[in-house]
């Protein structure tokens, strides 16, 4: 099946975790109320239209140049959400070639060939995707169909560059008309509730709404947990000494030892080695909030050379001379540009085919697994500090919204089993990534045609990859499965939901995303069964265990289920899970049977007692 499943195989492929973008809940007849009348085009496409999805263009004479099965002729449909191609069947037995790509996944659209191009399929469109695929379509030169396809793709894939709006808004608007009676994913994360779960407020930490209108720091959340010893005025002064005013704020606290993880941006030391007594005092407050330790560890995610170089731009790192009782460590995680280049090489190695004889060297040369290793190693070091040595840790990089988020989120996942449940993981993403201002819009480029923008980077993807690595080392520790992670990645790009849009919490509030778009978690939590891990032992309330994965290239593997899923020859079936489910089902069946028998046995005992009572008058 190339390169995405046909409609009939969609359910099967979903089980195989190869495609999770389409779970249509409405029949196409609903869509006809809007689209059919306007365009006068009959709805004969086999995919189910989503609420708010409308046809934009349709061509019946397009050739898809499939990298696996060669050119196939068929029909191309463009809606405001997706590009859909389905080949005309040449032989009855052969399944059609289906391409189903959300427009949000498209990074770049280019024309190939001109009016004078010769050769078969040399005139058409090439589409570069963010999810490892490149697609090529060929058109006939005579009828100018390429121009309208190209224009519609540009306008709908990059609406922000054409004064349009993202599909998430149209989708939610249509959905609200029909009524969404189910789960509200926007309610998954409530900051004060999560802080209470962590034990805040307590003797040492308090919650503050100082940033309620995002005036102190526009990229931080409205609610912060900060040391009680720091007043609001004090916090304002500390913020001035941190890059982009991102001062240290609590991410997590060990309920047993009170050791904490706090996150921030780099201090504005500069080449002159500036100091700030408030910032120094503030770190002391964080250290003193943990009675178990008289030392504070700073985890600077950068290579030390990069941290030093940042002084030239006004930044820098905490000197151990200036900050008492502070130990600084550098974690050697490279910047967004290095990561972007690394992922580009992964794509080169994985799509459309792999050179088997050079496979391992090719992956080695991407450096991707070494970057993953560095992230895992950094997270494990944080875990060791917080869990084993009961030392509080402050994590930062340059601006504190890329590598810092990777480290805090991953180390929290290792430390706290709650974050390994489905809802807990959703909270983790909402808190450490969304509320603390990872710039999703800039890193992914939602609805934006600046494909070569230097701010693009797979930082969040790398985090999800790291989570997958941990789940491969600890198969029983996670409530969710691989399909869950792939679904999150797919909708990171798809623009169908509002969760990953915008750059900061402030922007999301200003755009009113909670009311104008649907949350990804609504979608996931309403059909939870397909995302659950059968190896997660339900009868032990989750593994109450701190995870320490091995951060070595020997223990880290390329995530084939994600990076190689478009090549049908590379997808291997999974046998083990099937057997696990059989055993679980068998166990449940027997438990129910025993339950019934025990109930019957109890009833029989009651009957015997009644008989005994009846017998007593005889005496």
């Amino acid at each position: 099946m190339d390169p995405s499943a046909s409609l009939a195989d969609k359910l099967a492929s979903k089980t195989a975790s190869s495609n999770s973008l389409d779970s249509s809940s409405k029949s196409s007849s609903l869509g006809s109320k809007h689209g059919g009348g306007e365009n006068g085009i009959l709805r004969d496409t086999p995919f189910g239209y989503l609420e708010g999805e409308e046809d934009q263009d349709q061509k019946n004479d397009v050739t898809y140049v499939c990298p696996y099965r060669g050119p196939v002729f068929g029909a191309l449909t463009i809606t405001n959400y997706r590009l859909y191609f389905r080949s005309l069947p040449l032989r009855d037995q052969e399944p059609p070639v289906v391409v189903d790509v959300p427009l949000g996944v498209i990074a770049r659209v280019e024309k190939i060939g001109g009016a004078t191009s010769r050769g078969e399929n040399s005139y058409g469109i090439e589409i570069f995707c963010k999810d490892m695929r490149n697609l090529r379509f060929a058109h006939k030169q005579q009828n100018h169909s390429r121009r309208t396809v190209f224009e519609k793709l540009q306008a709908n894939a990059f609406p922000l560059s054409y004064s349009g709006r993202l599909f998430a808004f149209a989708h939610a608007a249509a959905n609200s008309v029909n009524g969404n009676g189910g789960w509200d994913g926007w309610a998954v994360y409530e900051p004060l509730a999560e802080l209470r779960r962590l034990g805040v407020p307590n003797d040492m930490w308090r919650a503050t709404k100082l940033n309620e209108s995002y005036a102190i720091c526009d990229s931080y959340p409205a609610v912060w947990a900060v040391p009680k010893a720091a007043s609001d005025d004090f916090l304002r002064r500390v913020a001035q000494f941190r890059s982009r005013c991102r001062l240290p704020v609590l991410s997590w606290m060990n309920p047993r030892t009170q050791a904490t993880i706090t996150r921030c941006s780099q201090p504005l030391v500069g080449v002159s080695g500036k100091r700030n007594s408030d910032d120094e005092a503030y770190l002391s407050f964080i250290m003193e909030a943990n009675a178990q330790s008289d030392k504070l560890t700073i985890m600077d995610a950068r290579p030390s050379a990069n941290a030093i170089a940042n002084k030239a731009k006004g930044g820098g790192y905490e000197s151990e001379d200036a900050y008492k009782n502070v130990e600084i460590n550098f974690l050697d995680i490279h910047n967004i540009h290095v990561m972007r280049e690394s992922l580009r090489k992964v794509k080169e190695a994985c799509f459309p085919t792999t050179d088997d004889s050079k496979w391992q060297t090719a992956i080695d040369n991407t450096l991707w697994l070494k970057h993953i290793r560095c992230i895992l190693a950094g997270a494990v070091r944080i875990v060791d500090k917080v869990e084993t040595m009961s030392t509080s840790v402050v994590v930062h990089c340059s601006d504190g919204w890329d590598r810092t988020a990777q480290l805090t989120a991953l180390s929290m996942l290792l430390l706290d089993p709650h974050y390994r449940t489905v809802r807990g993981f959703e909270v983790l993403i909402e808190k450490e990534w969304l509320s603390f201002g990872h710039k999703f819009q800039q890193r992914i480029g939602h609805g934006d045609n600046k494909h070569s923008d230097a701010d693009r980077s797979p930082v969040f993807l790398q985090f999800i990859d790291s989570v997958w690595q941990v789940s491969q080392q600890f198969n029983n520790a996670f409530e969710f499965n691989e399909h869950f992670l792939i679904t999150i990645v797919d909708h990171l790009y798809s623009c169908r939901f509002g969760t990953f849009l915008c750059n900061t919490e402030a922007e999301r509030v200003a755009e009113d995303l909670k009311h104008k778009t649907t949350s990804l978690w609504t979608h996931i939590n309403s059909s939870l069964d397909q995302y659950l891990n059968p190896l997660f032992p339900s009868f032990t309330h989750g593994a109450e265990l701190v995870l320490r994965p091995i951060a070595s290239v020997r223990s880290v593997r390329l995530w084939k289920g994600l990076y190689c899923r478009w090549n049908p020859g590379l997808c291997a079936p999974q046998h083990g899970c099937q057997r696990t489910r059989e055993l679980l089902s068998k166990q449940d069946q027997l438990f129910k049977l025993v339950n019934e028998l025990r109930l019957k046995s109890n009833n029989r005992s009651n009957s015997m007692q009644t008989t005994t009572r009846l017998a007593s008058p005889m005496h």
Binding site: D332, K370, F539, T540, A543, S552, S555, C564
Partner: protein, 843 residues
Amino acid sequence: MATGGGGSGHGGAGSAGNADHHKRNTFTSYVAPLPGDLRATADTNEWCLPSDLRDVHLAKPRLLHGEQIVASAPAYMYSPIDPMDSSGGSGSTLSAISSASGTPADRHHKEATFGLLSVTNFKLAFVPLHEKRNQAITAPLIDLYQENTYLGRNEITLNNIDHIYTITELGRAASALQAARGMASHAGMSRRKKLEPFKQQNISGRIAALHIVCKNFRLLKFAFQQQDSKMFGASDQGKLIASALVRFAYPMRHDLSFAYAHREPYYSTLGASGTSMYATKNDWARELIRCGATEWQVVSCASVQLLQNPLQAGKYTVPPHFVIPKSCSVDRFLDLSRAFCDSRAAFWVYSYGSSAALVRLAELQPAAQQDTKSENVMLELVRKCDAGRQLKLLQLTDRLPSIQDVLRAYQKLRRLCTPETPEKFMLQDDKYLGLLEKTNWLFYVSLCLRYASEASATLRSGVTCVLQESNGRDLCCVISSLAQLLLDPHFRTIDGFQSLVQKEWVALEHPFQRRLGHVYPAQPAGGNAELFDSEQSPVFLLFLDCVWQLLQQFPDEFEFTQTYLTTLWDSCFMPIFDTFQFDTQAQRLKAVTDSQLVLRPVWDWGEQFSDKDKMFFSNPLYQRQRGDLGAQAAAVAHRRSLAVGSKGAHGAASGVTPSRNTINPQLFATASSVPQDRYLQPAHRIFDLQVWDQCYYRWLPILDIRGGGQPQVDLYHRLLLSNIAKVQRCLDYQNFDDLPDAYYEFAGESRPNQHKDEKPDKEDEAEFVDGVERRRKPTAKAATPTSGLTSVTGNLQLSTLSSFFPFGNPIAGDAPLQLYDILSSSSELLMETSSFLDKSSIV
């Protein structure tokens, strides 16, 4: 000081040694005493040790029947690379941690364990000085992990030793401990040198340390105390050990192996219907019947007059029993086979479907290669056995690596898996995938799986497949075995797999002795090292790795586990068991008749392992189905073959010559009993393969995922089976007193507390949290513990297992009792001969 002339172990062992000494003169010269051994008595303070270490002479290893100590010395044993050293994953982290850990001397001492290092005629043994004192505390925990009855945790057999490196110091060294870590000392020069068998080693300088590289991927590092050079007659302890190792670990003849000295009698517990040894004509006949191979006949050398003639037999190197086309007379076949290397003309090994056969064939001898008539005649004879008259020849020599290629790949892979220092580990890790590719190991695994798939597809299409290799005894074994694994579910059971190994590797005479390096024959004059090395090659490991890959792709299709495969590789270097010790069956027979060797098949696992360890050989995901019951089919065939025997005798009396040589399967079932729908189609690209971490990485604690890895999944499945078995038993007996914890969780109840006496014990039970022992808070006696608490505690206790379990290092917190319960209950289902589905339908 141990002297070669007499054992210094137990009296019994000593007397046995004396007996051996009298019986065999060669033994005396073998263990001629070194000049350093001339001391009449061993002074306990001879080693000039500090007072607290003088008890080291008490740390003697446990000795087996016939085992003698040939050299002992106090030594420090270095632990393998520890996780803390490079958990940061970067060089700067290493230096930071080094500075944080204190002075280098302190770190070195923490890493090293002091004890007595002994060389016996069987093993290299290190006994920590304080082991006995700690034994009581650690024994229950160590029980969880694999224990071999013949080898302790810090012991390796001499057969397992591949390379011995000495680290010598030409000047006075600042610290001997530094040398062991491969670091250059400041005060002098150190040199790492490999000891070669047979070469006269004139080692200048003191041997400060030894590095032992094992064939099973283990690296052992020992350091020796620096001696005061002023002391008269002081011996170099490192040299003493190194000299003994060179002589005993690289024997020139096989009868110098410990197997010949170990005369403990063997009583077989293998059942007749279990593993087939392919040691008799009937064993092969049963397989012919099972496969429905009516066009083939078994030849037994004992019945062939030509092979009994001493003048003629020397021309042939055929195994005792083999299967040839029925249409060809034995004499003619043997005549044709002389043109082939090692007389390996077409030998049948398997049939599938109607008549498609799997045949092994050698290449023509170099002298005969110009004339291909013999080969053509042989192929035509094979073709006649195929109903469709079709045949496909797979020439393996051109497609697969040579045994030299396999050896080189293995050595590179092992170098990648045995870094001496954390720094070296990190250097490798930075370029790991590139280095792994350069070893070519996974490439060769990929090739083997590819051609095994091709062979099995050929048989599935009804075409006979002939595997041709130079002498048909190396890579032919790999492809043939794998093809049958892919086709036949019987070979995926434990008994079936063992029968397959017996058939393809032992009975058809893969030269284990040379390939595994059990013997180091003297080099001919002028011979070079490469010529010598070319005889060794871990072809069997290549096969096991391929099987492991199949196990990863089809986790519920195999009755055995990766632990079984790893243990099998370890058992190749256990000389006590004869299965993997000989090149030919004739050699094996000669060892028995000439040297009174006691034969012990490795398949009798109870000899090495307790029931607890053997449980980990069974795969909890496996479901036995009707087609897997080779044993029953074998039993039926056995009864029929008895009838054949009597008929054969009658035939002989009547003078029918052909019947005298063979059992005639045609008299019995002609249909194959092999199921046709249970074949496997593996992915065989390098892309699809993984590194067999349990076998290759288990000696690297740095890669141990505590509480993670495959063992957790395995134990989870065993827990499910345990729960199912318990509930099944409750239903059978209508008694609900012993339901598993998970049931009460499911029902939302608390487990009823019917045993009042148990409660005080439970309260005192230590609870392990993250490996730290804590007393559980005392609760009111009236309170009933909740099932949740029990489950959580139980889960915690399982969560510290090594990811290499049952290999790897045990640590505090592992809970034996719960694990035993899970294992014994789950094995009830695994061991049942009736199918799981049948059991399910009864409910």
